[in-house]
Symmetry: C2
Subunit: 190 residues, 2 copies
């Protein structure tokens, strides 16, 4: 599939067909994540593939609690009604977790040290693009209290769960939301 078509047509989906995702596609998406750049090529990511319904239910419950807490903290009332049931219906979730000890030299600098997480975010983007190239769709999900997600997934303390990448065959009728024109966000330095 053409690179620009993938980039332009990628979109988030929150409703999925009741179809499993083929093993080979999951492998290709993991490989895509692993191809992201990282500081000093230290590849600070770990991928956890989640398909077990009970685990998905626990994540859905966590998301529902987190939603209430964050709605309270932010004052964003629409968040209280944000539907998280798709976390159970989605066939696959891949947690991308980062290891801060595999970051760049920035990690020794007070107030910096996020380069491992930025590399993980690049891996997430590669995975979402790869999913689209494979006819899948997904969403970059982050509505979770990190410590509780780490506990559900049995992550060792050094790992920081950056995102849950939800993946399946889309059955989402909503439109791609579109973006502001990129030219509104560019400055050309004289």
């Amino acid at each position: 599939m053409d690179f620009w078509e993938v980039l332009r047509a990628r979109r988030s989906s929150r409703r999925f067909k009741d179809l499993p995702v083929e093993e080979e596609k999951i492998s290709m998406i993991l490989e895509a994540g692993n191809l992201a750049p990282s500081p000093v090529n230290r590849q600070p990511w770990l991928f956890i593939v989640i398909r077990n319904r009970q685990v998905k239910e626990r994540i859905r419950d966590l998301a529902a609690r987190t939603r209430q807490e964050w709605a309270e903290a932010s004052g964003w009332n629409w968040l209280r009604k944000y539907d998280v049931e798709y976390l159970v219906e989605v066939p696959v979730m891949i947690c991308v977790a980062g290891d801060p000890a595999r970051g760049g030299a920035d990690r020794f600098i007070p107030g910096q040290g996020e380069s491992y997480a930025h590399a993980c975010a690049a891996a997430v983007e590669n995975m979402l693009l790869a999913a689209h190239a494979l006819g899948l769709s997904g969403v970059w999900f982050t509505l979770f209290a990190k410590e509780e997600l780490a506990s559900i997934l049995g992550l060792e303390p050094q790992y920081d769960p950056i995102a849950l990448v939800c993946l399946g065959y889309s059955d989402d009728p909503t439109q791609q939301p579109g973006k502001r024109d990129y030219r509104e966000k560019v400055r050309y330095l004289p």
Copy 2:
């Protein structure tokens, strides 16, 4: 160009031919960055396009100072010899700066609030992939004290400079460093 070829062949370059980058290609790379996903589609990025030699020299000087500070703090002695002259030779740098106020609801939660930066990292990855698709190459540069870079670029206080994306026609003979096998970094949850 084929999506998978772009993903697999993308690589970092730190030596560039003495050739300008066409305006149209810069625009396409900016558009690619703007196509990244973001929390609540708030698109928290600002792109600053840098081609002025004097500005590049100031950034090179800042990188050289930062290199010494970070080498000291990290104990990574190899960093002292990391060559930053390519920051002057590279034809274009694009700073991707994030606006924390345009993040997700996580920004109201103590100890979280990095979703705006993760969206910016996804934009950086889109830009590096797009550059490769256009025959260019570059590097995701972060060896800078953030406050000083913000000052050189005249950024308002709300912006957080996430990365400098260096872009040009590669003249870098070093090999792609390669990755560990992705299967070493995957856990399948039972």
